[in-house]
Amino acid sequence: MDLGELDRDSTSRCRLNSPVPAVCRKEPCVLGVDEAGRGPVLGPMVYAICYCPLSRLAHLEALKVADSKTLSESERDRLFVKMEEDGDFVGWALDVLSPNLISTSMLGRVKYNLNSLSHDTATGLVQYALDQGVKVAQVFVDTVGPPETYQERLQGRFPGIEVTVKAKADALYPVVSAASICAKVARDQAVKNWHFVEKLQDLDADYGSGYPNDPKTKAWLRKHVEPVFGFPQFVRFSWRTAQSILEKEAEGVLWEDSPTGDQEGSGRIMSYFSKGPRTHPHLPHRYFQERGLESATTF
């Protein structure tokens, strides 16, 4: 899998895909959607689709694809190679969402939560397959939350396709298992070869599973806190684990949309900017007020 584009710029997202098998443009196909790396506080989240003609589903099953979580890394790699060998009837596509994209989306002025981001990414990939001429007849999607609303949304978006959203779909439908393998292989590779944007010294690659509850991951986060910048962009700043470490171990940063504390609290912060109450209520002319200018009584 060539994640070169991600290596070149790991601050955004990148899409990767196999060639579309000719047969998938002719025959009705089944398409599975799954994700890898949704929970970890480190690294990208990868969304994957995998598809094949309904008539060849048995061949895909014969590869003995299974939920990627039940497979070892080497088994996943082996299965991915097999799928590549079967490129005459199996196609796949990926969307790699960098941790920076996830952080900035979730922490945006208008919050773009992980579910919306996930749903939009999945939808985008299905649309991508359609745009490539894949004759998608059925879509199976693995989901984390309640599947009903998600299913309704997807079905509404793709009325001509039979959509099934189900928890544990990655274990139930081979085409979703195949997608989960693609996603997981990509995520593992991306994490292993992560191209840090920052110029870091003595980087410790021993960050464990990347899951917030992994003591190794937590220790890695604590070790790599930079008081002003927080973490490298490899970390999802929007994760509560990351936030609480920053609150304790990094310098405070206030944004114009930061939740302000009680009045008393903000008053204390203000008193740090302007020393004491002004005795003269003289307001500068509107020209100065509009430009944030005031006479220097203190520097």
């Binding site: 929970g39 007020q289 200018l293 220097a296």
Partner: protein, 304 residues
């Protein structure tokens, strides 16, 4: 690097007239900040003297909430930007001339420009061409080759009127929006609404000049300029940007456990916000303002 021993010291970001750099090549001293009385507010205010160029500068600070500087390999809180711009010293001298006028007699300048609170005002006497300048705002008498001055309100008002007109032309060339109407559109974009009336310009210029003179004189000038008196002379509130919604749109079913609702509640329960806690940790010694340097030492002197 720039953050050697002074790493924690407050860094002041300034914009100075370029020519100060060339002038400073020939100087060893004489470039100094002092506190003088602000002729409008009466507060102590910082000015800059260049004794070599014999020039006075006003210091304005750009200050907007939620800003910081990165300066090379350092961070400076506050994000302030200081401007030093040449200032007409007559505005500062006027304060003393008007005060001395209460005695109703002609006086030599060095008797007029005295200040127990701001003794550095005597530096004003070192500025060039004071005699010429003072003619704009005083009557003078010469006895035994010594000049004696008395404040003239009539002359001052006329002088201020010229100031207003100078300012009006600059407002026009700089496309400053002087309209009394608060516009939703940009203030600085330059697509100036052409319907701004001459009266708007004069009122605006009068308002700007009023930031350099006492209220009483501002009122007199307003009458002289025949500006409508009422609430219009109050400063208009500055335009405010439309604030975007703060309401977070949050995931209901994230298994990432990043649930902002909990996070917020937790914050409220703890006595200080993260930022405040961080603030408490801050080494404030590096944050002393220049003002504190002006004041502390002198308080002691005052008590001796």
């Amino acid at each position: 690097m720039d953050c050697g021993n002074g790493a924690r010291a407050r860094q002041h970001v300034f914009l100075l007239p370029e020519y100060l750099k060339d002038a400073s090549k020939k100087m060893k001293s004489g470039l100094m900040f002092v506190k003088l009385v602000n002729p409008c507010s009466g507060e102590g205010t910082i000015y800059l003297f260049n004794m070599c160029l014999q020039q006075l500068f006003e210091i304005k600070i750009f200050k907007e909430k939620h800003h910081s500087w990165f300066i090379n390999q350092s961070v400076q809180s506050g994000g302030l930007l200081h401007f030093a711009t040449p200032m007409d010293p007559l505005f500062l001298l006027l304060h003393y001339l008007r005060k001395a006028d209460k005695e109703g007699k002609f006086q030599p300048l060095e008797q007029v420009v005295v200040d127990d609170m701001f003794p550095n005002c005597i530096l004003l006497l070192k500025l060039p061409d004071l005699e010429k300048l003072l003619r704009h705002v005083t009557e003078e008498k010469e006895i035994d080759k010594k000049k004696y001055y008395k404040y003239s309100k009539e002359k001052t008002i006329k002088w201020l009127e010229i100031k207003v007109h100078q300012t009006v032309s600059a407002l026009k060339t700089n496309n400053v929006n002087v309209s009394a109407r608060v516009q939703a559109t940009a203030f600085f974009s330059g697509d100036q609404v052409s319907s701004d009336k001459e009266e708007d310009y004069i009122r605006y210029a009068h308002g700007l000049i009023s930031d350099y003179i006492p209220k009483e004189l501002s009122d007199d000038l307003s009458k002289y300029l025949k500006l409508p008196e009422p609430s219009a002379s109050l400063p208009n509130p500055p335009s405010k940007k439309v604030k975007l919604s703060d309401e977070p749109v949050e995931a209901k079913e994230d298994y990432t456990k990043f649930n902002r609702k909990d996070w917020k509640t937790e914050k409220k329960n703890s006595k200080m916000t993260a930022a405040q806690k961080a603030l408490a940790k801050v080494d404030k010694s590096g944050m002393r303002s220049i003002d504190s340097f002006f004041a502390t030492k002198n308080k002691k002197i005052g008590k001796i």
